[in-house]
């Protein structure tokens, strides 16, 4: 079962930047891409687990800081088409407040 959790405001994230939300199921990177579009993905590059939250954001992609893999923020997949995917999470923004949907049962299991 998923539930919406408020995590902060759009202004908390620098434009073309990212911040991390720490959860029992791992760190989730919240990106503020071009046009203030917000994305939420597991903060793990599918290549070697790099913290993609620390990558350079361009358009709706991020370049992982460890080995320059480019990840599409919408799908979590490599832009190159290689296999591998960072899990994405539903996001909504209302009046500048960002909420993400997390699977609560999974979280309980993780605790």
């Amino acid at each position: 079962m998923s539930s919406w959790i408020e995590i902060g405001t759009v202004d908390d994230i620098p434009p073309l930047g990212s911040r991390v939300v720490r959860t029992p199921v791992g760190d989730i990177a919240i990106f503020r891409a071009a046009r203030d579009t917000i994305f939420a993905l597991d903060d793990r590059c599918p290549h070697k687990g790099g913290p993609i939250s620390e990558g350079i954001v361009h358009g709706e992609q991020v370049t992982c800081p460890l080995h320059n893999q480019i990840i599409d923020l919408k799908s979590g997949a490599f832009a190159s088409g290689e296999c591998g995917q960072s899990r994405t999470h539903p996001v909504k923004v209302e009046n500048g407040v960002i909420s993400i949907a997390l699977d609560v049962s999974q979280m309980a299991a993780a605790e």
Binding site: P15, G17, R35, T37, I38, K48, I56, E60, Q61
Partner: protein, 822 residues
């Protein structure tokens, strides 16, 4: 038509004599001129005028008479009773009547509320002073025009559509105008960063000062306003302050009589409020959660309401009603061609098509979503705006014409962006080859006069690109531009990345030649193909701008690789390593103790000595970085920049202080060199070493800049590298004193900073340009050397701030998680 006939008609009362109300009445008359006896109450003592044309009235391009929509005669001809300057103060829904400020009671069968909106006043002290106004009606325009006659300084608060039109109008009337805008870019709701930048540049060219990120704290003055104070303490002189920060729907009347009101008066698709006999249109309404402040939606609402009132007695007769509006924007500033429509803030991934034409000052961006146009920004050439807008509103599938969409409906095959545009746009006196002082005019002239066909020809005739060679790309562009189709291109030079057609060298030259001082400026002038670059070009541009405009350019953190953003080295597990600076590789018990204490206190798992004679602390989580820096700072240690494309370390041997073979004080000279050069940003990392004798214990001859001491002075070497491809340094020259060493070092670093390509170490750079070139610039040309050293020192004055100290102790949010869940 007799009085009696009119008396038998249904009574329609309209509150509000503005654009929405009167457009609705016009639509009703079109459908059925005899259905209603219409009575209109208007708070302003005027006839119905076109509020959106107030801007041209303010700027003096139109008169009030030009913008009147319906004069007194129109009301008379259509048997409309107008009470202007008479406020409706209450609605009695039970008795079906309204009460006015003149004590009148007017019954209605149907009531339309069209009260519009009011400007929003920010809540700061001083808004009640004389000289503070909004920009909403003719009274405001007259107030501003009066101020322009007798006063000098105007401040407009709000850099949106209305604020900028006010600023332009006041500037046209001769005032000194400053626009204060809270956000980073102007009109951020309609424009992206690139469009905002172009608009700002245009307004600044017209003498309007723009301050972004300007948060107003107070308006200051005794009786009349004298200045605006910002939260950062700045004060801007102001005899007139125009508040243009937004609007709020006028819904008090509706709220007081118990209608459902949220942000605006809530209406359904047929503009019906929560009372079936009461309707509302315009800026006072909230429809499907939206409120509107532009004119097109008001007209569409008026049509829907007229359908409902004239045809809608039976359910289903009133048509589909109002479906909400996709809005578009044009800025009414003469000579500024700007169009914006649709959604730039959508939650789903979109695709961007970007076209930039620097020569014509054009920027176009179309946002596609699922094969349809979701939004468009056009700047400089907005002629195709309505074409895009039509397809946007229709939700037309544009996948078929995707490739040529950006060129507009007139596109013919073969037409494309000109990669030589940035060179074409340069003036004839622009200096293309800085080394040999050759201008664009010299080169173009030589091409034409001597029939030159290649870069080599141009080099032979004019010397352009004959020294460092970095302007070869520009010379080639000039050949292509001058010769047109006759030009046969040489092997293609590699652009920085797929975002651009330009090489690193071209970009460096053009930044200086076009005086480009921000990343959006570069992207526009050089016709970048992506909206905000990529991880390859943005850090390069950030470095080039930082290098060329010290003190003027603001470092863009988001264009920096993580290590430089967090001032620490990211490791394979996502932790960081920290290296405190140890000047010349010399340390003390106090420093070592402080490092040991930090290792204990933060349970740092691993400590390692580096090849550059420093201590590296490994396995540190990001959150702990500021606290560790605080402790190291307290012991007098600063950032070692082990993470940066910057001066890394100066490695030394003990020199003649201890060594029986030493000829000079290598440790002291190493410390002096490091104090001179630390904090400087370079195209790639930059390492130095000082050896006290030719035995070279500091392994100096594989460094970027090396000093080998001898009895009679110092031998200077450059361009060494200990990496994958080991390269031994080249001898630059021999100098006599340690002061000479410092001057040559500063000059060499600056030459490298100004000329090398981003991520090019000194070794490949020197292989490319030749040690002869470097010698000519640094050794043979004394004045040139001194000028380079002077530029280096000037840049260092700004660069030498310890980045750790800026974060140490402060609770910088960037280092902490946004939130902890569960």
């Amino acid at each position: 038509m007799t009085e009696d006939m009119i008396m038998t008609r249904k009574k329609l009362v309209v509150i509000g004599n503005g654009m929405a109300g009167m457009r609705t009445v016009e639509e009703i008359l079109d459908r059925d001129a005899e259905k209603f006896a219409v009575t209109v109450f208007g708070a302003e003592p005027r006839e119905n005028y076109n509020r959106i044309m107030l801007s041209p009235v303010l700027s003096g391009e139109k008169n009030y008479e030009d913008i009147v929509i319906n004069d007194q005669q129109w009301y008379a001809q259509n048997a409309i009773t107008l009470y202007s300057g008479e406020d409706v103060i209450a609605i009695d829904r039970q008795a079906h009547c309204v009460k006015t400020s003149a004590g009148r009671t007017m019954p209605y069968d149907a009531l339309i509320i069209a009260t519009g909106s009011s400007p929003f006043m920010i809540k700061v002290p001083g808004t009640d002073l004389d000289g503070v106004t909004t920009f909403r009606d003719m009274d405001d325009v007259e107030r501003m025009a009066d101020a322009a006659r007798s006063h000098q300084n105007a401040v407009v608060i709000g850099g949106g559509l209305l604020g900028l039109e006010a600023a332009y109008g006041l500037r046209q009337r001769g005032m000194e105008v400053t626009v204060l805008h809270l956000m980073d870019t102007l009109m951020e709701r309609q424009l992206d960063e690139a469009g905002g930048y172009l608009l700002r540049r245009e307004l600044e060219n017209r003498g309007i000062r723009v301050i972004t990120q300007a948060d107003t704290a107070a308006l200051i003055g005794k009786s009349r306003v004298e200045a605006v104070r910002l939260k950062d303490g700045r004060e801007i002189p102001a005899d007139l302050v125009v508040m243009a920060v937004g609007i709020v729907p006028n819904a008090a009347l509706a709220r007081d009589c118990g209608l459902t009101v949220e942000r605006g008066i809530v209406v359904d698709d047929h503009m019906t409020t929560s009372d079936p006999d009461v309707f509302a249109v315009g800026e006072c309404v909230q429809h499907r959660g939206q409120t509107y402040g532009l004119v097109a939606p008001l007209y569409e609402m008026g049509k829907a309401l007229a359908d409902r009132l004239c045809r809608g007695d039976e359910p289903g007769d009133a048509g589909p009603g109002y479906q909400g509006s996709v809005t578009s924007t044009k800025l009414k500033v003469s000579g500024v061609d700007l169009f914006s429509a649709g959604d730039f803030n959508g939650g789903d991934a979109c695709e961007d098509i970007v076209l930039r034409d620097a020569a014509r000052g054009v920027y176009k961006r179309i946002v596609l979503k699922d094969g349809k146009i979701a939004g468009a920004v056009l700047y400089g050439d907005a002629g195709d705006g309505s074409w895009y807008f039509q397809m946007l509103k229709e939700g037309a599938d544009v996948s078929e014409i995707r490739d040529t969409l950006i060129f507009g409906p007139e596109f013919s095959a073969g037409e494309n962006a000109d990669p030589n545009a940035a060179v074409a746009a340069l003036g004839m006196d622009a200096e293309i080859c800085g080394c040999n002082g050759v201008s664009k005019g010299d080169i173009v002239g030589a091409i034409i006069e001597h029939g030159l066909e290649s870069v080599e020809d141009v080099r032979a005739k004019t010397k352009a690109s004959g020294s460092c060679g970095s302007c070869a790309g520009l010379v080639e562009s000039l050949l292509a531009h001058t010769l047109g189709d006759a030009f046969v291109a040489g092997p293609a030079l590699k652009p920085i990345c797929p975002c651009t057609t330009h090489t690193h060298d071209d970009v460096r030259h053009l930044i200086r030649l076009h005086n480009l001082k921000s990343i959006p400026a570069v992207m526009q002038a050089l016709e970048w193909k992506s909206p905000n670059g990529c991880a390859a070009c943005r850090p390069a541009l950030n470095y080039y701008l930082l290098c060329d405009w010290p003190g003027e350019y603001t470092d863009d953190n988001q264009s920096r690789f993580v290590n430089e953003r967090l001032h620490a080295n990211i490791q394979k597990d996502g932790t960081y390593s920290v290296v405190p600076r140890m000047w010349g590789g010399v340390t003390t018990a106090k420093e070592l103790r402080a490092i040991a204490d930090v290792v204990d206190k933060f349970a740092i798992p691993s400590v390692k000595l580096t090849g550059g004679q420093r201590i590296d602390l490994f396995g540190i989580p990001k959150e702990q970085l500021p606290a560790i820096w605080t402790d190291l700072n307290k012991a007098g240690m600063v950032s070692g920049h082990a993470y940066g494309k910057a001066l890394r370390t100066v490695k030394t041997c003990v020199g003649n202080t201890w060594c029986r073979f030493g000829t000079q004080d290598a440790m002291d000279l190493g410390i002096q060199l490091e104090k001179l050069s630390w904090g400087s940003w370079t195209p790639h990392k930059f390492k130095m070493a000082v050896s006290g004798c030719p035995r070279n214990c500091a392994e100096a001859t594989i460094k970027d800049f090396a000093v080998i001491s001898v009895d009679s002075g110092f031998e200077l070497y450059v361009g060494g590298n200990g990496g994958i491809t080991v390269r031994v340094t080249d001898l630059l020259c021999k100098v006599a004193t340690s002061d000479d060493v410092l001057e040559y070092c500063a000059a060499f670093m600056q030459l490298y900073r100004e000329q090398a390509r981003y991520l090019e170490r000194t070794a490949p750079w020197i292989e490319r340009v030749g040690i002869g070139y470097v010698k000519a610039e640094i050794v043979d040309d004394e004045a040139g050397r001194k000028a380079l050293a002077e530029r280096f020192l000037r840049s260092q004055k700004i660069a030498q701030n310890d980045p750790w100290a800026q974060h140490a102790g402060a609770d910088t949010p960037e280092f902490q998680p946004l939130k902890l869940v569960g």
